[in-house]
Amino acid sequence: MDETQLAPVIQEIRRALPELGEDRIEEELRRYLKYGIHLQEAKNAILRRFGARTGASSLGPRSLVDLSGGESNFEITARCLSSKERLQNTANGEKTMVSGLIADRTMIRRFVSWEGHTIEKGRTYVIRGASARLFRGEVEISLGAYTTVEEPKVDPLADLDVSKLPRFGPLQEVKLRDVRSGMGNVSVIGKILSLEEKTIETEGATKKIHDGMIADDTKKLRFTVWSAFLHNIGDVLRIKGAYVKEWRGIPQLNFDERAEIELLEDIDFKVEMSPRLLAEDLVGAGATDVEVAGTILEVREGSGLIFRCPVCNRALSSGSCSMHGEQTGFADLRAKVVLDDGTGALFAVLNTEITEHLLCMGVAECEKRFAQEEKRLVELLEHKLLGKRFRMKGNVIRDDFGSTMLPNGIAADEEPYMDHVMELISKLEGS
């Protein structure tokens, strides 16, 4: 190894990762070289490992509002608004996690450190080599092993008034149908359908919150108010400054005293109990109580006669439960299908009752007739479902694999179509 080659590479890495220190860089480089790794490869590996974009240096100073989650190695100057330490069990043993909120002149965001950085409430810090990531739909500032935290001698944020700062990004005015989890600062108009006061424990203290359902003419959403709430069921409100979390992929509105709430006396909505939505609206966000109409394009594996674990109700696979081992299961019926309306595709799980109804046969009868030839039952289901249009009502939950409808009722879509055809062709002939 020619030692003279090392120096310029160390300098190059140092420019990209100024916080790492020359000695540390050299030590790291030599470790790679010892394994016979080429100098260039070792350099790139170190740059990637310590969060620099290969070949690029630190992104430089950033404002909290500009981050979208995915940036790494930038610098921010921010005041800590809250901070707590917690011991957390991880795969690498017990670690101290420090988390809380920080603010600069643009907004407030959550931060988390897994390396025990000292960040105390009320102090301002210059944080270098941080990264931003998306956690539960929120942009979070992540402090890693190579992030340095330094208190400036003169606090550049001494006059910062955090009470006016948004909790999250720029205000977005949306219909409830278009609310997506992770949105930080939305303005919505909706009617309060239900409301409940609850007492919860948070950080050792009890706190009164409200939750309920809010709806406009497109969709219903659950909401939680984390501060005093003076409105009643039936009120139509404009809520500016709510943020969105999710439960099983269904967006939920959250807001607190930061939100601006206005009672709108002259607006009312026709709120449908189960508003009709397109599949494309549900692919990005689940929903409670909606209706979708589409064509069934597939009857998926796991449909028909299944056997469930007597302990936990999970479907057995080859007589075995993933939690409780070999079991004598009890019979059940279900159909897992794909519902597609041309704008999007949803999975749907038709429950026992719906499946029995479709087959005009109960579970017991199915078990008697089809236990030896389960495939025939699936063919029967395909015959009843494939290529047919259905309207389904129920909740839509969402996970990494897509959106799944859990209908509490389905009906063949038998809406007459000839008038629509006539209308369409007369429009076409006219043009």
Binding site: V283, L297, D340, G342, T343, G387, Y417, L424
Partner: protein, 289 residues
């Protein structure tokens, strides 16, 4: 997060078969798309029509089916192999002519000379009735028209963007299609697709109340493929035929100059095939007998 299930696009055969572009994506495991002349990106599609014929091109143990399914605007070519067991099963049970619905994935074939063929690898095949087929026609007409209208607006704009089209009231999917269409097929004439929609809607109106048996399998094929056109097309085929036959693409070009549109041509060739005047040794080549 994993990519969700691809939507089954509703497209007529006329639009699908005129596709000349595909998008294979750069990411690992990225799905394969065909981009239609109206800019619709198709990875999966749903169509319903008349199963015209099916040929088992495999052996007893490993069957392979080639099938032709006509909608009112053209013919979908369907190839089912051992990896499409449901489709194979269903196809072996169905006797042409009958009304079928097919959900499938795009399949493309580009010949050495660059000729592009779009066909379908079926995932599910099932019998349908006339109301089901009619609803598919209505739905597909709406989606197709949505694309046509967005494209018309985009073509009349200076520097069209998705945002500008959304502002005009187009749906996002139609706006995206329009921009894609301009990028890949700028200046292409899509009148034949609008004619296709008309024909399809008329099929619904004319077929009202009739059972499958009463309906001619391809109602408008006979009507339009008048003796004149048939003779002309047959003449072109003879003229263009080399030893191996004439390229469909070349026949199409020749016909364009004579004012015979794509749909009429396809119907005419179908009629000639049915009459046994020509045959199709391989897909895309027509040879006189």
């Amino acid at each position: 997060m994993a990519r969700g299930r691809e939507t089954a696009q509703r497209v007529f055969a006329a639009e699908y078969n005129s596709s000349r572009h595909e998008d294979r994506g750069t990411e690992e495991n990225a799905p394969n798309f065909i981009v239609t002349p109206l800019g619709c990106s198709v990875n999966r599609l749903l169509f319903m029509g008349v199963l015209m014929n099916k040929t088992n091109t495999g052996t007893g143990e490993t069957p392979n089916y080639k099938a032709e399914v006509r909608d009112p605007t053209g013919t979908f070519f369907v190839y089912a192999g051992q990896f499409q067991p449901q489709a194979l099963n269903a196809l072996s049970a169905l006797e042409p002519p009958s009304l079928v619905g097919i959900v499938g994935k795009v399949r493309t074939f580009v010949k050495d000379d660059g000729t592009f063929y779009a066909s379908v690898k079926p995932e599910n095949v099932f019998p349908v009735d006339i109301p089901q087929r009619d609803r598919w026609i209505l739905e597909t007409s709406r989606f197709t028209l949505e694309r046509v209208r967005a494209l018309d607006d985009a073509a009349s704009m200076e520097g069209p963007t998705i945002e500008a089209l959304l502002e005009k009231g187009h749906t996002r999917r139609a706006a995206e299609s329009a921009i894609e269409s301009l990028r890949l097929y700028e200046g292409a004439d899509h009148k034949y697709i609008i004619n296709g929609i008309r024909t399809a809607l008329r099929t619904v109106i004319e077929g009202e109340g009739k059972s499958v048996e009463e309906m001619p399998p391809a109602p408008q094929a006979e009507e339009k493929a008048t003796a004149d056109v048939k003779e002309k097309v047959l003449e072109f085929i003879r003229e263009l035929s080399g030893e191996r036959g004439a390229l469909y693409r070349d026949i199409m070009k020749r016909c364009e100059g004579e004012g015979i549109d794509k749909i009429t041509l396809e119907e005419t060739i179908q009629a000639l095939l049915d009459e046994g005047q020509v045959y199709e040794p391989t897909i895309g080549i027509i040879k006189p007998i």
